[in-house]
Symmetry: C2
């Protein structure tokens, strides 16, 4: 029997907990420990909960560390810290800062002799892969991305920072008439703020000024001001009952012409009951791929573009050819 791939998880929020589940579903992997900054009493799977400060002691005990820090800010510190000791997979998602983050991780990982897969997940990640693939196949065409219906953690956080808001959840909702027009191959390059609406479910503090909260939301620059935004005040009880889940999803299309009037459409879509559990499943599959890249001598930073897809599967190359081609 092959030796199992030894996995560590750094960060134990929604994503880290999802990773714990995903590793358990992977029969070729073994979870060694969960690392966190704040002390944890225990983990769902019973593996040791270890302080990040003690991570160095696990250097030779873990093949790949899944970085599940809660935010991009976490990762800019966590990434280089762990990549200096471990092979790492992360979901760094601040699009504009990816080149800078890549350069830092490349430098740290190269000098440490480790491998670091960055910006893994679905967007960036699987969506990026499909945009790239479709663009290479249909050079004469146009890309469209729609997100949702799903929870945007960043927008939910932005609402929660408004005075008088006790809790909030924001759903990004794509406009189906635009999706249908694109899927039908009819041109339609609507900007994101015209192709989506934002629906906000807000629990206000007792006695809070709801009109002021609503105004603060719908006029918030970058987040809401450009969008059709709906604000719904609900009770704490309704919030707990109806808005506990973290669904998400979306569509990437490319429509292109190979000859004049000959339209070709490539579409990739996700419909996710749980965004963190799915993202963690992607990280876990890429941990397997990174482990193999490393075995073939790779060091440094890489992305979904650099990794031979077959490395993601637990199946051997001959099985893949026989069963899945």
């Amino acid at each position: 029997m092959r030796q199992k791939i030894k996995i560590g998880i750094a960060g134990y929020g929604n994503l880290g907990k999802g990773a714990e589940i995903a590793v358990r579903q992977s029969t070729d992997m073994e979870l060694i420990a969960v690392f966190s900054r704040r002390p944890l009493s225990s983990t769902a799977s019973g593996v040791p909960a270890v302080s990040v400060a003690e991570a160095a002691a696990y250097k030779d005990k873990i093949d790949v560390m899944l970085l599940c820090g809660g935010s991009a800010t976490d990762l800019t510190e966590q990434g280089p810290f762990f990549a200096a000791m471990f092979n790492t997979v992360d979901s760094f998602d601040t699009h504009a800062k990816i080149p800078e983050y890549y350069a830092r991780m490349e430098q740290v990982a190269k000098s440490a002799g480790t491998a670091a897969a960055i910006s893994i997940g679905w967007d960036p990640g699987l969506f990026s892969l499909n945009r790239m693939l479709a663009g290479a196949i249909l050079p004469n065409g146009e890309d469209h991305t729609f997100w949702g219906k799903g929870v945007s953690q960043g927008h939910s956080d932005a609402i929660r920072r408004i005075a008088g808001v006790k809790d909030a959840k924001q759903y990004t909702v794509p406009k189906h008439e635009i999706i249908d027009a694109v899927r039908g191959g009819r041109e339609s390059a609507a900007p994101s703020h015209e192709a989506h609406t934002r629906e906000c479910f807000v629990v206000a503090e007792e006695g809070a000024d709801k009109a002021a909260i609503e105004k603060a939301i719908v006029t918030m620059p970058n987040y809401f001001a450009d969008y059709e935004t709906g604000v719904h005040f609900i009770s704490e009880e309704e919030f707990r009952e109806k808005h506990a889940e973290i669904p998400h999803g979306g569509f990437v299309f490319r429509t292109g012409e190979t000859s004049p009037g000959v339209c070709q459409v490539i579409e990739f879509a996700l419909k996710l009951d749980s965004n963190p559990e799915f993202t963690a499943s992607v990280l876990t599959a890429y941990a397997r791929a990174l482990y193999r890249m490393k075995q073939h001598g790779f060091t440094g930073a890489c992305t979904v573009f650099d990794i031979p897809p077959g490395y993601l599967s637990p199946k051997a190359p001959e099985e893949l050819r026989r069963e899945l081609l």
Copy 2:
């Protein structure tokens, strides 16, 4: 300026003509010649039409040869013949014989020091890639593939071989109620013959026995006997007017659970006005990737599973990270 990738096309049917168009759309490529067994008077793009017998003279003038032979039978000969001299990309699609074909191409290419990408296209090809990816991410799940609505060349050929048939075209049509059930995450593992119908448009010879033709079609083992099959006799004129195109497409889904009751759906879909032009566009993008694999020292046979996706794009790795991640 970078040197252009020099492409040859072997075979000048629908697929070869599609490849000629796809290479023209690729600004980093240059078409050198079209090779065919039967003498061609000219090519649409004006490049030389060369007899296959003279291919050896082009050994150092072509970086990648696109094998556009019309059938799997062509490729079992054409593949090893060309791989002994050129880097090749082909769309070998007899699923059951892929391991055998791979072994042969691996042996020929390895000993010639060439690279051969086999079974490239959309099924096998992009569909295989998505099945593999989705299976690696959602190990606890189920795959579904639907084809169509589109023309099956093999089934059309089978009808044309029936006595009394002048021309025919067969469309494979997926049953939308089953697609919707799967997309909605509701379990539904219908076998292919229950999930699709077959619609046949037939031009009969003058005075032919239409009832006998219909019976020969609907009872044909492997091709039609297990399917709901519709047979429509039409005039030659209507055939020319309404059935000249070669559309196709299909869907690959995977539905899986990450936790009990937490359903995740990954979907990849194609909607193609022209199957051969699209398939040729896929071959062309993989020609670029194969050229780069070769530059990095690769020799032997490979498939969609082995090729780092970023190699497909004309963009540099740093552009891909900046623009598409």
